[in-house]
Amino acid sequence: MPSPRTPVPDSADVLVRLRGVHKSFGDHVVLRDVDLDVRSGEVVVLLGASGSGKSTLCRCVNRLETIDSGEITIEGRALPSEGRELARLRADVGMVFQSFNLFGHRSVLDNITLAPVKVRGVARREAADRARELLTRVGLAHKAQAYPGELSGGQQQRVAIARALAMNPKLILFDEPTSALDPEMINEVLDVMTELAADGMTMLVVTHEMGFARRAADRVVFLDQGRILETGTPGSFFDAPRTDRARDFLSKILSH
């Protein structure tokens, strides 16, 4: 079991700051006036019913989705809109997707080394050594030469986490990392994530895994219809939600 987390002090630097973020797809408003700070070393879990805007919020942070108005800054710098600057920023922000999205034509090892070698210019050998280290960390050292298609979903997702870690990101975005997994594989992924959290990685996590939120989050943010309704420690949110919407959401999720 990883050691329990020491809470992130309020004085820690703000890594990601969202102010007045608005986003709509056509007539459908997905994010309304969202303000959110993620401090360095903090684990923030976004909760909410499907369609509440949590995935979109997560995807806005590395500009996989553009925002209509408002401001997003990372380490005090506004998100670049296009081109090389944006690519450079993305290299510093890891992302783990619901559907793993490993590169199908490359071995597990190559999946992890490709970005360090091609984007960062790290020597191939050095990248491979680091990749093996990371594979050991996620418990897949023996799968280095396998292809993504030969792995189970849980294994693929752990490789995807290793791939994100290989870029030494300042933070990692997790967009429903366990939602596409069979139940018996969810824990192997959550264990890796819990360990990362304990190691002090800054994480913004969209998930339906309440156990993980309770165990690993510093802060839980509850979204409803694109608005942040509640934010607080896991303890206060789960035990004493302040809004009816949150109570309703929790009763539906926790009843089974």
């Binding site: 590395n62 996989l64 081109g83 090389r84 690519a87 450079r88 920023l89 993305r90 290299a91 510093d92 922000v93 890891g94 992302m95 997707f97 559907s99 793993f100 999205n101 490993l102 590169f103 199908g104 034509h105 490709l114 970005a115 091609k118 984007v119 960062r120 292809y147 993504p148 298609g149 030969e150 995807a160 791939r163 994100a164 870029m167």
Partner: protein, 214 residues
């Protein structure tokens, strides 16, 4: 038959021209087609529009019309090039439009999630193409490209209509000179089939070689 074999050298020359036209035409069309496909999917609007316009113009006008325009039209405006080169260039430009579309359909088989993952890792457009999109797309492009290769091979025969003495041109010559249309075209058919069968075999081999587990 014996007349044909007596003039074997002439026929061989025709075969040579046909094969040269096929290889040169396909090679140039492949390069141009890939460039066009990249323009087509590029985020730069003028390049995208250029590729769309190119495909619309070249794919929708019969090859024979292009050949006539190139061979008899270009000299009209003072551009006189050797016949063989002009015809091969016209073919390459025409088939490039088809190759562009074959390449594009291959690119669309690359799962969008993988492209998103690469963008999230900091890959730029050209790195994305080079390391992720093209290596994966090429697998599903092999068969459509093989089809274009066969079509191009068979359509080199249109060059006879504008005066190139390639395989079909020579065959017409035999037909007219010695009045042996059936034997002449039988031999010619066999030769075309040999070339296209070889192309088909190569395509199958390539496809197996590029296959990977997924």
């Amino acid at each position: 038959m014996s007349t044909i074999f007596a003039h074997g050298g002439q026929l061989a020359h025709g075969v040579l021209l046909t094969m040269l036209m096929t290889v040169l035409g396909f090679g140039c069309a492949l390069v141009a087609g890939v460039v066009l496909a990249v323009f087509h999917i590029s985020p730069v609007p003028p390049l995208h529009r250029l590729a769309v316009g190119y495909v619309a113009v070249f794919r929708n006008i019969p090859l024979l019309v292009w050949l006539v325009l190139f061979v008899f039209g270009l000299p009209e405006i003072g551009l006189l090039y050797p016949l063989f080169g002009t015809v091969t260039a016209a073919m390459a430009l025409y088939w490039a439009a088809f190759i562009c579309e074959a390449v594009r359909s291959g690119i669309r088989t690359v799962p969008p999630g993988q492209i998103e993952a690469a963008r999230a890792l900091g890959f730029g457009f050209s790195q994305l193409l080079r390391h992720l999109v093209l290596p994966q797309a090429v697998r599903s492009m092999v068969q459509p490209l093989g089809t274009v290769f066969i079509a191009l091979t068979l359509n080199t025969s249109l060059a006879a209509a504008v005066g190139v003495r390639e395989l079909t041109g020579e065959t017409q010559f035999f037909t007219i000179t010695y009045d042996i249309p059936i034997p002449a075209f039988a031999v010619t058919t066999a030769i075309y089939v040999l070339i296209t069968l070889a192309g088909g075999l190569l395509t199958g081999r390539l496809e197996r070689k590029l296959a990977f587990k997924r």
